[in-house]
């Protein structure tokens, strides 16, 4: 299979500040590739290098076998880009903004463009400054998708979108994959990547720590559970449940990490006089810290 994105020992630093460090990455054409990492890990830096919005300090990046610094316009022609942080033109309406970017591409399929706008339930007649954050995100999504690009580079695409629109967005990505197009999805949300991607790369402090099938994420999905009972309970009952770890017993309270399905823990707790149940999905930073510690991890 051909490669859509390839980086070779790609390094970008901002003076003494670290951006990304010796990144070796390959994204095949036709796959949805998740790019996961906590805020500040270097995801946006990678994307900006791929689109030649910034230049690498060393190493190189290729998109469709074109070196990013050699012919960025040829890359942009085949790419749809949704930045993580952006703003558009307050004086233009949403429709004018969408059509402006369509015109910069020499025009797009008007029927397809209209269908995208309608599926997002976006009112194109309103001025951009009047839109809510979610509607602004919709405008940018249409701009990224409207020319049916071979590669979609999406940086935190669901930010500000309501759940229904997020569902619609995931169908767009699935459709893109069916058409043989490639999606490079940068996110800090495990759930978002888990439900839509084929493979995932995990980035931490500018370095790749893991590149694997998305199923590997399940190992990272750990819930922090706190059970409060009216009286003492045998901790061993819970320690024996598969997936339970870091079990701590304090008075009538049990705290634990649960990896995988949480139902066995709930069933076990129901056998006692349960007063309160708290389950929290840890942040990506907490997961990474628990999984990888602070040390540098070799790329698989």
């Amino acid at each position: 299979m051909d490669t859509a994105i390839r980086t070779e020992r790609l390094t970008k630093s901002y003076g003494r500040q670290r951006g990304v460090v010796e990144l070796d990455l390959e994204v095949e054409q036709g796959e949805i590739f998740g790019y996961l990492g906590p805020n500040g890990a270097g995801k946006t830096t990678t994307i900006r290098v791929l689109l030649d919005l910034i230049r690498p300090t060393s190493g190189r990046a290729l998109v469709f076998d074109i070196e990013t610094t050699a012919d960025p316009v040829a890359i942009h022609r085949r790419t749809g880009y949704l930045p993580g942080e952006f703003s558009l033109y307050d004086r233009l309406t949403g429709g004018e903004t969408i059509e402006y970017f369509a015109n910069l591409r020499g025009g797009v399929d008007a029927a397809y463009q209209r269908s995208l706008i309608e599926r997002l339930d976006l009112d194109p007649s309103r001025r951009y400054r009047e839109y809510s954050k979610g509607n602004k995100q919709k405008v940018a999504l249409v701009i990224a998708f409207q020319h049916r690009p071979d590669l979609l580079v999406l940086d935190e695409p669901t930010a500000g979108l309501d759940p229904l629109v997020q569902l619609e967005f995931f169908t767009w990505m699935a459709a893109a994959k069916r058409d043989g197009r490639t999606v490079f999805l940068s996110s800090h949300l495990i759930g978002e990547v888990e439900k839509s991607c084929d493979r995932v790369a995990i980035l931490r402090e500018g370095r790749l720590v893991q590149v694997d099938r998305v199923e590997a994420l399940h190992d990272l999905s750990v819930h922090q559970v706190e059970l409060r009972f009216s009286g003492p309970v045998p901790a061993a009952t819970f320690a024996a449940i598969p997936g339970v770890s870091h079990l701590v017993s304090e008075d009538h309270i049990l705290r634990m990490h649960v990896q995988g399905p949480i139902a066995p823990v709930v069933k076990a707790a129901a056998a006692f006089d349960l007063v309160d149940f708290v389950s929290r999905e840890p942040t990506l930073e907490e997961v990474f810290l628990a999984q990888y510690g602070k040390g540098t991890i070799d790329v698989e």
């Binding site: 689109l51 919005l53 960025p72 316009v73 040829a74 942009h76 022609r77 790419t79 880009y81 930045p83 942080e85 952006f86 703003s87 558009l88 033109y89 004086r91 233009l92 309406t93 429709g95 004018e96 903004t97 969408i98 059509e99 402006y100 970017f101 369509a102 015109n103 910069l104 591409r105 008007a110 463009q113 209209r114 009112d123 194109p124 007649s125 940018a140 701009i143």
Partner: protein, 274 residues
């Protein structure tokens, strides 16, 4: 009643009106659209000023003798004051008077306009975040920069044309001595030169804007305007021989000049730096 006869809800009707979508066709046309108000205001404002100056001179100093009186008064001013006002060259004729009154501030005005327009055009987009989306479009950086500069150049050309027309019209309408007439070509060349100066500061602000931010780049560029050239309308290279030549085919207005010797004009280069 058939449902097809019911009017669309207001919001839905508004949405329908948005189709087909219309948007700017290029970075250049979008820039023109964004700047149309400032182009119109700058052009008409400064054009009106030129007309006003012509009217003031013709009303207050209609004769060559009156004009000589201004020249004499200006020569008597202390050097510090006359330096502040600018060197009074050929102020006994409309073109020279206009340049003298304009000479001090018009290059600065063009400079400030250019600095504000060009420092904001890229730095503003970078700060706002739209440059990130624009730079992702299949348009080279060079083209983005050139189209944005082209917008301002067109704006300057428009403003220069309106101001030059104002100066020419002023000469047509308010001339009271033969040398008051202003050739349109001279006026265009003069104001184009002034505008070009403004473009120097603007270019500096444009280049530094995305790196230093709009405020810092604008500040540096504005500091360069301190050396503004002082233009003199109608006193070009050939002006020494034919000071403030009347426009071709133009007959001076019928106001009779007093039977005095013709006004002696001070030749000067078209632009000189203080």
């Amino acid at each position: 009643m058939s449902s097809s006869l019911l009017p669309l809800p207001r919001r839905a009707a508004h949405r329908q009106a948005a189709w087909p979508l219309h948007g700017p066709r290029s970075i250049f046309t979008k820039g023109l659209r964004d700047s149309r108000r400032s182009i119109l205001l700058a052009g008409l404002g400064m054009g009106f000023l030129t007309l006003l100056l012509g009217m003031i001179l013709s009303l207050q100093f209609p004769t060559a003798a009156d004009r000589q009186q201004i020249v004499a008064e200006m020569r008597m001013l202390p050097a510090a004051i006359s330096g502040l006002l600018g060197e009074p060259i050929n102020i006994d004729r409309l073109g020279g008077f206009m340049s003298w009154r304009y000479g001090n501030f018009m290059p600065i005005m063009f400079g400030i306009w250019s600095v504000l327009a060009l420092s904001g055009t890229l730095a503003g987009e970078a700060r706002g975040g739209s440059l990130e989306v624009l730079a992702g479009a299949p348009v080279s950086r060079r083209r983005i920069a050139l189209e944005k500069i082209a917008v301002h150049v067109v704006a300057l050309v428009g403003a220069v044309t309106v101001i030059a027309l104002g100066a020419w019209l002023s000469g047509q309408a308010f001339a009271t001595i033969p040398a008051d007439a202003i050739a349109i070509g001279d006026a265009l060349a003069h104001f184009a030169g002034v505008a070009l100066f403004g473009l120097v500061g603007g270019a500096l602000a444009f280049g530094l804007g995305p790196i230093l931010g709009r405020a810092a780049a604008g500040g540096i560029a504005l500091a360069t305007l301190g050396d503004a050239p002082e233009g003199r309308l109608g006193v070009g290279a050939d002006a020494a021989a034919a000071p403030l030549r009347p426009a071709p085919g133009r007959r001076p207005r019928s106001r009779r000049l007093p039977s005095r010797p013709p006004v002696r004009c001070v030749p000067a280069p078209s632009f000189h730096f203080r």
